[in-house]
């Protein structure tokens, strides 16, 4: 049958292009374009390691973690034993002096690292699991489920955080694990909202629709297709979360409702400075603990900043 003129031209064009391309690119089109290339993680890591402050901070953090793990081997004296003079300034191998019953301050600080790391990492683990799951579900399903989860989140966020922790800790009894879990259970709402926001934009993307069309089950879509795309903001949030948890534990222990003596934590060592005599005349008993909290929190915050910059660099590129 006869053909329309404009259409004939278009077809001719396609055959021409087809012929040209057969000459120029036998086999694969533009194979040369994709020869070098790194995975996402590699690119982010490269950018992170260019940031000197972040790298130094990471080294400090790793040292702290190792100190916590090998506290028993590193500490020069036993944790709770009265081994030296009472209230002595640094002497001999008591590098940071002793406290009022003759325990080595340095050894207690080293063991205190354990507490900070357990609380920091443990509570973050708890809240990342809760916050991520609720955020994914809330964002993906929307509607009624979303409303319910968001109202719960708002309720949690409108409590005076510290008061609730104080109440819970005094009700449940104080101790390392109670503090860790209470902190974890109370800190998830900001992360939940963050994840939900990301999922709201991600679920409309073609690759999620493609996953639905492929036949993935809902958990499959959430955990195989959506979760990997929200991991980076979660990681950044979690890093800052560690710092917050360490600070909160120190504050609680300082107030006497956190980790209980004789188990040392940076917070309860610092709390000895509540006595005026210690504050004024025995600075070796509290200044090192203060410095450690300061350094640890600062280092972790720098790591978080470094991570965020490395990841955001990806988005800009």
């Amino acid at each position: 049958m006869a053909q329309n003129v404009g259409n004939k031209n278009a077809e001719a064009m396609f055959h021409l292009v087809d012929a040209v391309e057969r000459v120029n690119f036998p086999g694969n089109e533009a194979e040369q374009i994709a020869t070098d290339g790194d995975s996402y993680i590699k690119t982010v890591a490269k950018r992170f390691f260019k940031n000197k402050v972040a790298v130094v901070s990471l080294v400090i953090f790793i040292i702290l973690v190792l100190t916590a793990v090998f506290a028993n081997q590193i500490a020069p004296h036993p944790r709770d034993a009265s081994v030296g003079r009472f209230q002595a300034a640094p002497y001999d191998n008591f590098y940071l002096g002793t406290d009022d019953i003759g325990r080595d301050v340095l050894s207690r600080l080293i063991h205190g690292t354990q507490v900070s790391m357990i609380v920091g990492l443990g509570s973050v683990m708890v809240y990342v699991i809760i916050g991520t799951t609720l955020g994914l579900v809330s964002g993906y399903f929307g509607g009624f489920v979303d409303s319910v989860i968001m109202r719960i989140t708002e309720a949690f966020m409108s409590f005076p955080f510290f008061m609730v922790i104080l109440t819970l800790v005094s009700l449940l009894g104080s101790g390392l694990w109670v503090v860790t879990i209470v902190l974890g259970v109370l800190s998830w709402p900001p992360l939940c909202r963050l994840v939900r926001g990301q999922v709201l934009t991600l679920k409309k993307q073609d690759f999620v629709l493609a996953a639905v069309a492929t036949g993935y089950s809902t958990p499959g879509i959430l955990f195989i297709h959506i979760l990997p795309n929200v991991l980076s903001p979660i990681l950044v949030n979690a890093t800052f979360g560690i710092a917050t948890a360490i600070l909160t534990e120190a504050s609680l222990s300082f107030l006497g409702v956190g980790v209980q003596r004789p188990r040392p934590s940076w917070g309860n060592i610092l709390s000895e400075a509540q006595s005026l005599r210690v504050l004024a005349y025995e600075p070796w008993r509290w200044i090192p603990a203060g410095i450690l909290i300061f350094v640890a929190v600062l280092a972790i915050n720098f790591i978080g900043d470094g991570l965020r910059q490395a990841i955001e660099g990806e988005n800009k590129a």
Partner: protein, 333 residues
């Protein structure tokens, strides 16, 4: 020109694989911000053919495609696939069978691939979901085969989508769709985002794959010349309605609906002389004066040629068709 070596499905063996009748898809239904994306869409797609769906942006083409592949619940009307109403597919087992049989290729080649998964995970995932391979070794082998069948190197399997060009990404998307060995593929503007030389490659690839795998296509596009090149029959859509459905050749010779005429007049020609003389026909929906919509709908003007019009207009369109056919005969005699 038709698919080389394969004529249009013979009249006798025409069997509808997809039947859409009076499809309605409203978003935010009943609320203030209600959007009526699809108001009244009816057409069938025969087994083994390529059905082109064209129309301007926002005419509801993609929404129709998405409704067809069950990416959401429809507001009204009926869609049946292989004789089964897709609304009745509820159980996971039935849904999986449906998903295995119908696949989709998306417009944006980058956005349709998960940036955090490798090509192997993307294609292998589809195989895994449908239990088409027993172990990971077998899966890897199949992924390599699929990559090669769409003209990609098997070394690409361990790369991420960001490392590819648009055309390569689209080939990965095609490989993913083919992985589950479907019977029917929706190409939702599958080539619009690619540049012209790559478009030709991908269209030719789609044509080859169709012949090899006995596929049926729904080809959604706004580029009329491309649609003409690939389709057996064409449906023209505007503002949520199918206005004209007929065989591809006939649409170009005897465009009956004023909107189709307008669309055809908008095709740019590569010839500068002709381009200077080309007159663009505007389409104004008010032209119809359909005050009472009761007798307005898709009416068959000639065999396999449907127009969305008022009952009284049928005779008018019949005359117009005869006139246009006569003119064409004289012109090319």
């Amino acid at each position: 020109m038709r698919w080389e070596g394969k004529p249009l499905v013979a009249e006798a063996e025409k069997k509808a694989i997809v039947e859409i009748s009076e499809l309605k898809q409203y978003f935010n239904a009943g609320k203030k911000n209600e959007v009526r994306a699809v108001k009244d869409v009816s057409f069938s797609i025969y087994e083994g053919e390529t059905f082109g769906l064209v129309g301007e942006s926002g005419s509801g083409k993609s929404t129709t495609g998405r409704a067809l592949i069950k990416l959401g619940d429809i507001t009204g009307g009926q869609i049946s696939y292989k004789g089964q109403d897709i609304n009745d597919i509820k159980r996971r087992k039935d849904l999986l069978t449906f998903r295995k049989s119908m696949q989709m290729i998306f417009q944006d080649p980058y956005a349709s691939l998960n940036p955090r998964l490798t090509v192997k995970e993307i294609i292998g995932g589809a195989l895994k979901v449908h239990g088409m391979t027993q172990n990971s070794k077998e899966r890897t082998k199949r992924v390599y085969e699929l990559l090669e069948s769409v003209g990609l190197n098997r070394q690409f399997a361990n790369r991420y989508p960001s490392e590819f060009s648009g055309g390569q990404c689209q080939r990965v998307g095609i490989a993913r769709a083919l992985a589950v060995e479907p019977d029917f593929i929706i190409c939702d503007e599958a080539i619009s985002a690619l540049d012209v030389s790559i478009q030709a490659q991908v269209v030719n690839l789609l044509k080859e794959l169709k012949e090899q795998n006995n596929l049926t296509y729904l080809f959604i596009a706004h580029d009329l010349s491309m649609v003409k090149y690939i389709s057996d029959r064409i449906g023209v859509m505007n503002s949520g309605r199918v206005l004209e459905v007929c065989e591809a050749d006939e649409l170009y010779i005897a465009p009956l609906h004023p909107y189709t005429e307008s669309l055809l007049s908008a095709i740019p020609t590569p010839d500068p002389e002709a381009e200077r003389k080309r007159v663009r026909t505007e389409y104004d929906p008010k032209y119809h004066h359909y005050d009472d919509h009761s007798n307005v709908g898709l009416h068959e003007i000639a065999p396999e040629h449907f127009i969305y019009c008022h009952k009284d207009e049928i005779a008018l369109y019949k005359k117009k068709r005869e006139k246009l056919l006569r003119q064409a005969k004289q012109q090319y005699a």
